[in-house]
Subunit: 251 residues, 2 copies
């Protein structure tokens, strides 16, 4: 194959446009489009959900999809994921973690695209969405996600597995809950994430033994007649324990 024309074009592009005036050492190499796709997990105090949108551009227009966007030259991937999340949903300051990079040659029929998947954790009730795409967005129960474009279903499976693993060893579950929550809600959350029933007494004993929650004098009266005490996660205490005693969060 003769890439000589291609090489000249890339030279031109880099030299004329690179904003940092870096040297173009690697001018003979192929360039690709890098996308970011976000798996957005939410919890509504009962079920674990994911946020999907109906794609409003080709290819695959009208089909369900993760939210996504393309990496710009002026940002790194974490920033791109934050930007995509904020642009499409209005949310910022959200827990985001890089998951995996997908690169099958024909994964996107529109054009060769490599996609870096991220997952995000948000509290469904505590946020007011006002992103540009929000009218076409919908929360799906994690167990009832529709067929998605490209390899997005595969991404979700991997994100579920990662969330399961993380939730067992880091207190990221609290990202999905409102600031004040009941033990019952916390247990519901873990049952959804781990996809199995937990024993109420064992669960509460375990959580209390970690000693990272503060029990409030306040009760949530919305579910039972007796009411359930509200708790908050004490992040400072958790971080102090981690540093001082080498404490490891472990459900």
């Amino acid at each position: 194959m003769d890439f000589s024309i291609h090489k000249k074009i890339i030279d031109l592009e880099v030299v004329e446009e690179d904003p940092n005036m870096q040297l173009n050492y690697y001018q003979k190499e192929d360039q690709v489009l890098l996308a970011v796709d976000c798996i957005i997990f939410g919890f509504d105090k009962e079920k674990l959900k994911i946020l999907l949108i109906k794609r409003n551009f080709d290819p695959e227009k009208g089909k369900w999809s993760l939210i996504g966007g393309f990496l710009k030259k002026t940002e790194d991937l974490d920033q791109a994921a934050e930007r995509v999340l904020e642009t499409l949903t209005g949310l910022n300051d959200i827990y985001l973690e890089q998951l995996h990079t997908y690169s099958k040659i024909d994964r996107d029929p529109g054009q060769r695209t490599i996609s870096v998947a991220y997952y995000a954790l948000i509290d469904v009730d505590n946020y007011r969405f006002d992103g540009i795409q929000i009218d076409s967005a919908h929360w799906f129960d994690i167990k009832e996600a529709p067929h998605l474009i490209f390899d997005h279903n595969e991404m979700i499976e991997k994100a579920k597995a990662r969330l399961k693993r993380r939730a067992l060893t880091k207190p990221i579950g609290f990202e999905l809950l409102p600031e004040k929550f009941t033990m019952r809600q916390l247990q519901n959350l873990y049952e959804c994430i781990l996809d199995k029933k937990l024993d109420k007494r064992n669960f509460i004993n375990k959580i209390n033994s970690l000693d990272i929650l503060v029990k409030l004098d306040e009760k949530d009266m919305s579910v039972s007649r007796k009411g359930a005490y509200l708790y908050v996660f004490d992040k400072d205490k958790y971080e102090k324990k981690v540093q001082e005693d080498g404490f490891i969060f472990k459900i």
Copy 2:
């Protein structure tokens, strides 16, 4: 900013060169260089090592580096990692796993480059290297790796953590050993990976309880006068157990 010239160039490039004749839906987006870097772990029956090369091109020529290369349009990332590994070391059919994607804007002073890190596991003694770069390559004890270019030290730290986690739940340790190995060697390996001393009796009891090794009639006489029995990993048995009983490898 006016990208109109840039856009035209990209249009031209995609339309003229794309080998699959895909449509160029995303022509307004930035393209980037995608590199692959490999953390190559090896075990020489005593210590865990990593393979590094002295970089023979700019930028950072002459400094120690992971082996790496650029993604081509005709391959996916797994294939790129395999190609890089084979080209530079002559090795193929190696355990490879994607680790993380690094994208800090100035991570490579030569040019904006995104790098997808992979890690590989090989048995140091069982392979004959004959790759193009092998004269500038050197095995470093994992605890004595030098300062590397870019963010490569960070990649190694992440790879070590991943290896530790994987080795506890999947039998990937055997990728680092010769086909026949002694219990002592297996224990050495795990001590290196986990970076802690293990109790000999507890370790052997644990391994034997997994019931996935075959003890041979043969002894390794090279270390002790008494000699140590050799074992082989029974991959078929392991996989049958995983499928049939839901067996989980767990050290």
